[in-house]
């Protein structure tokens, strides 16, 4: 008798222990466990015999769980589910910090989500590592032509398209019109070259004793030095083949220019301003302590919601010299199908829906977010949903895409930033000279490329 008892207990313990190894088991969101298990059944039978009226259920992972974004995602999903009767999409919110890791674990375990929103700059890496299903066979010309070229390009590896771009962003110049007027500058005529930026900044500066009450313009309030390098070079400092152009004249000029501005204001002024942004205590631009700064265009939403009617203007990024180009930088996200998803074709149908004109316009209008579908973006620029200021900013975002580069992580040196960013920081903090620093960054990066070859 006792022997049997022992056996039973052992097997129960073993079984429960095994249960713990299931990846993606219901423990993360117990709320949807029931629907998940139900959906798995229908999904399996559905994909095998889609003729008998059973629906295919797709699991769609996003990191859009905020009060503001979640209803919009859910609305889009509902629209899709109502638009046809073969596929049923379910939304799983996975927090930003976990989503990529969980996705990888799920791919490794053979039970990935069917569609996931992922970073556009690392698509090529994931494709290379075999973590995504190629979509080329489903993509027709209309779909391929929907997107901004640089975005579509970022999803291609060897003529295979691995994802459809969803949204993007771009860096533009924000300036305070009231401060312009106080300084005797024309608020409708923002500066357009680096030299003009300096000139305007001098006019905008308000000095009080040793410190500054108003900082006209400092390049590194907001962006990092890499944005200005990109702006000066007109391309990223490392290309896809692994050619490095850091120790070059435009980059030398960039750092000398940054240091010149820094020494005008003094390092402490700059640190204190940057730490105010960092600690989110107060926004010095909204407080009227900064005349001009380059920021992600989405910063408009913060100005709209918290700016207390700040009288601001927007303009493209300045160019190094006239004719050099107003090159700006953008990122963004794609919708993709992880490797091993049960029905890539069904997943694609949903992805296609996510990037079509109406969905993208809906997303753009409700989030004030620059979408990847060009026509939808252009339509959004004239949307009645936005105020006049909103339309102005959105139009500029759309125009700015002509000068906006994406910087996909080069497969040849995926981890370059932790090696060379500190060198750039050290140049800016003047612990290293421009010459020595750039020479070091150039050779460090070349060595990484060499090692990875």
């Amino acid at each position: 008798m006792k022997k049997y008892l022992l056996l039973i207990i052992m097997s129960v313990v073993l079984l429960s222990a095994c249960g713990g190894f299931q990846i993606g088991g219901g423990s993360e969101d117990s709320g949807s466990t029931e629907s998940d298990s139900a959906s798995d059944d229908t999904a399996d039978s559905g994909s095998e015999s889609s003729g008998n009226g059973e629906k295919i259920t797709l699991d769609f992972w996003t990191f859009w769980g905020s009060e503001q974004r979640r209803p919009i995602v859910d609305q889009i999903i509902e629209d899709f589910n109502n638009s046809q009767d073969e596929i049923e999409v379910q939304h799983t919110y996975v927090p930003w910090g976990d989503i990529w890791t969980k996705n990888l674990a799920a791919i490794a375990a053979g039970d990935p989500p069917d569609v996931i929103i992922n970073d556009i700059n690392t698509v090529k890496l994931r494709a290379q590592e075999g973590q995504m299903e190629p979509l080329t066979e489903f993509v027709d010309e209309e779909v391929q032509g929907r997107f901004y070229d640089q975005m579509a390009e970022a999803t291609m590896v060897d003529d295979e398209m691995y994802a459809l771009p969803f949204n993007t962003d771009t860096q533009i110049l924000f300036y305070n019109k009231d401060l312009f007027e106080e300084a005797g500058l024309d608020p409708e005529d923002p500066p357009s070259t680096w030299a003009e930026m300096e000139e305007y900044a001098d006019a905008l500066d308000v000095q009080e004793g040793d410190s500054y009450e108003t900082i006209g313009f400092y390049p590194l309030i907001g962006p990092g030095s890499d944005l200005w390098m990109l702006n000066a070079l007109g391309e990223n400092f490392i290309d896809e083949e692994g050619n490095v152009s850091i120790d070059t004249e435009p980059v030398h000029d960039t750092f000398n220019w940054i240091l010149e501005q820094k020494n005008k204001y003094g390092g402490n002024t700059i640190t204190s301003i940057n730490s105010q942004f960092e600690n989110a205590q107060q926004d010095p631009f909204m407080a009227g302590n900064i005349g001009m700064m380059v920021q992600n265009a989405n910063y408009y939403v913060q100005l709209r919601d918290f700016g207390q009617d700040l009288n601001f203007g927007v303009a493209p990024m300045p160019e190094k010299e006239e004719g050099n180009g107003h090159t700006s930088w953008g990122g963004g996200f794609v919708a993709e199908v992880p490797k091993g998803a049960k029905d890539p074709e069904a997943s694609y149908q949903f992805i296609e829906f996510l990037t079509n004109h109406d969905t993208q316009l809906y997303w753009a209008e409700n989030n004030f977010d620059l979408v990847a579908n060009q026509e939808a973006a252009m339509a959004a620029a004239e949307s009645e949903e936005f105020s006049a200021a909103g339309q102005e900013v959105y139009s500029l975002m759309v125009e700015n895409m002509d000068d906006t580069l994406l910087t996909p992580q080069p497969v040849i040196a995926p981890d370059y930033s932790s090696t060379i960013t500190p060198t750039f920081e050290s140049i800016v903090s003047e612990n290293t000279s421009v010459e020595a620093g750039l020479e070091k960054a150039q050779s460090d990066l070349e060595r990484i490329v060499e090692n990875n070859r």
Binding site: L14, A17, N268, P422
Partner: protein
């Protein structure tokens, strides 16, 4: 017969733990040891590459040395300082004064706060211009450093923050100090010993097992510093100038940003060996200064 059965039941009752240990601790441990000799990237590859990862770490990876240096710096300053601080506080807290319970509570409070909340609090305190610490220094005409934004000061900032939560080990010392026999002190007073002599000749030796325990555990803990740097460096990756790039942070970046899992596994085994060696050294030296009652 009966004895055998009892043994069996004994094993049965610890079975859940054994399964947990084999499946969730020893299994992954061995897997990571094996993984450290591969180019494992979670999804598509796991080829045996021998000592390649280790070779790359030691011979080519500057960041590996940077992170090791940062971690050593932190351990070397943080462990002795927090230990001394905890002993000092607990000596103070061991006095017989009215309202001592209130003071004990106050000093212990930081230890029950933990994690990100504390780090955010300290980021505000350490703010170069508006932070309380620099404003306080300003009262004395001292132009405070840029703390977390200055590569020279970022590690000291974290060490100072750690000192603040010395209350946790204070409790251990306090308990040990209260356990020291009054008879020893009485005898010392009869012999005319000064307070300092009593502290160094009686109190310290009597609590030395706790000091030893504290040093060993906090050395291991300090080598594993991660959260602080992850939260408090402005790019979550060791800024400024990689001064907060601690060993575990760099390992984490390799594992979960670059998914270079094999490389990260190799790093974790190197750390294991380093900590193991230090702990063994600690134990060897312990014989010279740790005093166990009854020996």
């Amino acid at each position: 017969m009966y004895k055998k059965k009892e043994t069996l039941y004994g094993y049965l009752f610890i079975l859940p733990w054994i399964i947990g240990f084999l499946g969730l601790t020893l299994g992954p441990l061995l897997f990571s040891l094996f993984g450290s000799f591969t180019n494992y990237n979670v999804t598509s590859q796991m080829d045996f590459i021998g000592l390649q990862n280790y070779k790359e770490l030691f011979m080519y990876d500057d960041l590996f040395w940077t992170s090791l240096y940062n971690t050593m710096y932190f351990v070397i300053f943080s462990v002795p300082l927090t230990t001394i601080m905890a002993i000092l506080i607990s000596t103070l807290m061991n006095q017989n004064i009215r309202g001592m319970r209130v003071f004990r509570t106050i000093y212990y409070l930081p230890a029950i706060l933990s994690g990100v909340g504390v780090y955010l609090l300290w980021m505000q305190l350490l703010d170069p211009s508006t932070g309380l610490i620099n404003q306080f220094l300003g009262l004395f005409g001292i132009d405070g450093p840029n703390w977390l934004f200055d590569p020279e000061w970022s590690k000291p900032s974290l060490i100072i923050m750690k000192l603040w939560s010395a209350g946790g080990s204070m409790l251990l010392y306090l308990a040990a100090m209260q356990g020291v026999s009054k008879a020893l002190y009485e005898a010392a007073i009869m012999d005319g010993a000064s307070r300092a002599q009593m502290f160094f000749r009686i109190t310290l030796p009597m609590v030395s097992p706790i000091i030893f325990f504290d040093i060993v555990t906090s050395t291991i803990g300090s080598f594993q510093i991660f959260q602080e740097a992850y939260v408090m460096s402005s790019n979550n990756a060791g800024a400024p100038e990689n001064s907060l790039l601690f060993y575990n942070l760099y390992m984490w970046i390799n594992a979960f940003n670059l998914f270079d899992m094999g490389y990260a596994m190799a790093m974790s085994w190197i750390l294991f060996v380093i900590v193991l060696i230090l702990t063994v050294i600690n134990f060897k030296f312990a014989r010279r200064w740790v005093h166990y009652e009854g020996e």
